[in-house]
């Protein structure tokens, strides 16, 4: 799914390659410009919503001491920590510092936000990247296999199991896989990034990555398989494909040149749209597998109203989703030349 993929030959008449490249470049620029006001609006909305949230930022800061700290001391703490200010003042102060690269301190982790993100971010990217890649590969394989004969045994088996997996929440998948594969048969470690006390070497991390990445991939899989199967079938039944078959073009060529380009387009869009879902799944999987990632930190930051961390993670997530959907659209435009580039 890289942008360097050449446009498939033999497709209907389309603008020349140079013009398409320029169109895609313009789309990227337009989206980048659009991202700036969007980030401002998202962060403003975050601070405004958090101000109306029933949670008290001091409850997160004080923990069990919340009920014993006197009202006067609580007021002093709110003044020192700046949690008592109006939400737009807090936003202005946060945005001003963020412009200069100072993302502030995370109260929940008692560390600079940049340290929290640098220590945990790579592990989340590794986990979700591997899971997404596995899910896409598996979905492509299963989808193609199932779509070869609509209504056949494979098709029905894939559809039924995808629906079943879709109906099981990720935490149940996690617990079940740990119970059977890690505790029962001791094939994999139960949880953690490494064995206790070990350094995060390639061998250690890859061994510990298998189960959480597999569970996360499995939780993403059903949507991808079902949508790919659907679009493959729709493409296979289109007039163009029927015509191609009627002209006697070999089945392999029909699949490669007529069905796949049309069907993979919507599939890349679905992959792009599932990115937020990936993050939600990662939060659950990180918690169950004690994986020291950022998705879990996002939940902590939201629960404790740790503004500095919450704002940084929300903005980062927004950027990630924007980049993901842009990448998907670029891929879609490259795969299926009929697709417009934002008009």
């Amino acid at each position: 799914m890289t942008i360097t993929t050449a446009a498939p030959a033999g497709t209907p008449p389309v603008p020349g390659r140079g013009r398409r490249g320029r169109g895609i470049a313009r789309m990227c620029l337009r989206r980048a410009l659009f991202a700036v006001p969007l980030l401002v609006v998202v962060s403003l909305a975050l601070f405004a919503l958090a101000a109306r949230s029933p949670f008290d930022p001091l409850a997160g800061y004080l923990g069990d001491r919340y009920t014993t700290v006197s009202t006067a001391d609580r007021q002093r703490l709110a003044d020192e920590l700046g949690t008592g200010q109006s939400w737009w003042r807090q936003w202005a102060s946060w945005a001003g510092h963020a412009m200069t690269g100072d993302l502030g301190y995370s109260r929940a982790y008692a560390q600079p936000v940049t340290t929290v993100m640098a220590e945990r971010g790579p592990w989340t990217l590794l986990l979700s990247g591997v899971a997404l890649a596995c899910a896409v590969l598996a979905a492509a394989t299963l989808g193609l296999w199932a779509a070869r004969r609509a209504g056949g045994l494979v098709d029905r088996a894939v559809t039924v199991s995808a629906t079943l997996v879709q109906s099981v929440p990720p935490f149940v998948l996690s617990l079940a896989s740990v119970s059977v594969l890690a505790v029962g048969f001791r094939l994999f470690p139960v949880a953690g990034l490494t064995d206790p006390g070990a350094d995060p070497s390639l061998r250690q991390v890859s061994r510990h990555l298998v189960l959480p990445a597999a569970v996360l991939a499995l939780s993403l899989l059903p949507w991808l398989v079902l949508s790919l199967r659907q679009s493959l079938r729709a493409a296979a039944e289109s007039d163009a494909v029927l015509g191609a078959r009627a002209r006697g073009i070999p089945e392999s060529v029909v699949l490669r040149k007529h069905i796949l380009p049309v069907a993979l387009g919507p599939f890349t869009t679905v992959v792009g749209l599932r990115l937020p879902e990936l993050l939600v799944g990662a939060a659950v999987v990180e918690e169950v597998f004690s994986w020291p990632g950022l998705a879990g930190s996002l939940v902590t930051a939201a629960r404790e109203l740790d503004f500095a961390l919450l704002a940084a993670l929300t903005v980062a997530t927004t950027l990630l989703v924007l980049a993901g959907s842009l990448l998907a659209d670029v891929a879609h435009a490259l795969i299926d030349p009929r697709v417009g580039r934002d008009g």
């Binding site: 008290d56 014993t68 020192e80 008692a110 220590e119 505790v183 990034l193 004690s290 020291p292």
Partner: protein
């Protein structure tokens, strides 16, 4: 969801028994514990080790374990403190020749700096209220400090458990932004060797003033999920963890594991606000205390790991606790009390008096399932004697404003090593005013001049026998006219695997209970078998 987890765990217990083939990977030396709490935050000013549970820092005093109320023994203090006749000045001589793990020597300036940082509003220390009785702390010599108090406070030794950090590292500013959170420097039995988001490695302090500990290394892994901690124990990845009672019970019959429970003064009870026509009524208060089946709550809600509570003081206070049987479960007597007071059953079964129906609301924090379960058990018991209780989840921010009119399922016991913090703010009439102290202090608006007098007298005298008599008096009066329905004290449960080390002692635990407590609270004293 909880049941599902239990089923899955049972399956894995069975599977584990069937297929114990693969051997566990190479294990680090020493002991590996799984902690549900976040790692880091090792700054005493930010609240780390307030109750003397730090492995990295020492306080002026430390706890001596064993059954009953722990005694205090000198740690960084050379001897127990000397107190002036008026009880306002406490002088503590310091142990000489003690060094921090950065090589600097401990002196009075470090103690002064630590306590001043806690009291300094600019550090926004969460401990400020807990140390409000201290007016000043100053060095009276290179190895002597003096605390000057705002009022006589016999329970001060419990405030001398706080870990001492080097003055050079207490640079002012917010406690949550101090470098000590991730690079702690203390005088304690262990020092932090490495810290990752998922793992902290502590190694024995070879130069520890009380002798280097025999357990050479303590590896703490952060495992937020209860089930995951249980499973990592089963798989042999960790040697111990804190577990909720139901999960801990699954290890009771397994070889190589030991389930332990430490008593705590961590109470749960229902406040009965004086400002509400039903909960403020003395007959209702007395009747509810006899209507609740505390033993059933311990059995069913706490899976047996707890004790019934009639007052905020648990039996562990020994001579300071002598209240006979407390409140017995006697619904018939409760009904007689209500009948005699004029609360008559109405057509719907709910009692009424002068047009007021016997109903009120009990609030609990939404995410706290234990409080929810106890509130529901309380409502069921109250319903049997014709008092209708509405159980309602209210977020923390919404609770304080409603405490004067709505009942709430509250808890306490965060620093239980003296009876004073356990009862003073709960029962003293000064705290009945919501504007004084925290809104949660004396949330019932309990006022009894004789109780006030006894509580104040117990702060003034240092004589243990006299203090015990005063606290007994408080409980006698309270049992006559209760102001809350105290329900239970919790026991904290832990599971440990056999490690070849011994030395665990029971200890009374405060509200908090990570793996800093449990059998491992005195790890420095453990020895190789």
């Amino acid at each position: 969801m909880r049941r599902l987890c239990a089923v899955l765990l049972t399956v894995s217990l069975a599977a584990g028994a069937a297929a114990c083939t693969a051997e566990p990977g190479a294990r680090p030396e020493g002991i590996v514990l799984a902690d549900g709490d976040e790692l880091g935050g090792y700054n005493p000013v930010a609240g780390h080790g307030e109750a003397g549970d730090s492995k990295i820092y020492d306080g002026l005093l430390r706890l001596a374990g064993g059954e009953g109320l722990p005694a205090f023994e000198p740690a960084l203090a050379a001897r127990l403190p000397e107190v002036s006749v008026d009880g306002l000045r406490w002088t503590v001589p310091l142990r000489e020749g003690v060094t921090f793990t950065d090589g600097t020597a401990l002196d009075a300036a470090d103690v002064v700096a630590t306590y001043r940082a806690v009291l300094d509003p600019a550090s926004a220390s969460p401990l400020a209220t807990a140390y409000e009785m201290i007016a000043a702390v100053e060095a009276t010599g290179p190895h002597e400090v003096r605390f000057t108090l705002r009022h006589p406070y016999a329970a001060l030794p419990a405030k001398l458990l706080l870990g001492i950090a080097p003055s050079e590292r207490l640079t002012g500013g917010l406690a949550s932004e101090s470098a000590l959170n991730t690079e702690p420097v203390g005088t304690g039995p262990y020092r932090l060797a490495s810290l990752r988001p998922d793992q902290a490695v502590l190694v024995a302090n070879e130069h520890y003033w009380d002798g280097a500990p025999q357990v050479p290394r303590l590896t703490l892994v952060h495992v937020p999920d209860d089930n995951a901690r249980a499973q990592r124990l089963l798989a042999g990845e960790v040697d111990g963890a804190n577990l909720p009672p139901r999960l801990a019970a699954g290890f009771a019959d397994r070889d190589g594991f030991e389930v332990s429970a430490n008593a705590s003064a961590d109470w749960r009870g229902v406040s009965l606000p004086a400002g509400h026509p039903v909960t403020g009524d003395p007959a209702i208060r007395a009747a509810l205390n006899r209507a609740v089946d505390r033993r059933a709550m311990v059995e069913h809600v706490l899976a047996g790991h707890g004790r019934p509570a009639s007052t905020p003081l648990p039996a562990v206070y020994g001579p300071g606790y002598d209240i006979g049987a407390g409140f017995e479960h006697d619904p018939a007597a409760a009904e007689r009390l209500l009948d005699a007071a004029g609360w008559r059953r109405g057509p719907s079964g709910v009692r009424e008096k002068a047009g007021v129906a016997a109903e009120f609301t009990v609030m609990y924090f939404p995410e706290d399932t234990l409080r929810r379960d106890l509130a529901q058990a309380f409502a069921t018991d109250a319903d049997r004697i014709g008092v209708r209780v509405h159980v309602r989840a209210v977020d923390r921010a919404g609770v304080p404003g409603r405490l004067p009119v709505d009942a709430a399922l509250l808890g306490g016991g965060d620093l239980p090593f003296d009876p004073d913090p356990q009862v003073y703010k709960t029962l003293h009439s000064r705290y009945a005013d919501p504007a004084v102290g925290s809104a949660y202090d004396n949330a019932s608006g309990y006022v009894d001049p004789a109780v006030d007098e006894a509580l104040d007298a117990a702060r003034r005298t240092l004589d243990p026998a006299e203090r015990a008599a005063l606290y007994r008096r408080v409980q006698e009066i309270y049992l006559e006219h209760p102001g809350y329905v105290m329900l239970v004290f919790l026991d904290h449960t832990y599971v440990g695997a056999d490690t070849g080390y011994t030395g665990a002692l029971p200890v009374l635990e405060p509200h908090s209970h990570g793996v800093n407590w449990g059998p491992w609270w005195n790890l420095r004293e453990w020895t190789r078998e």
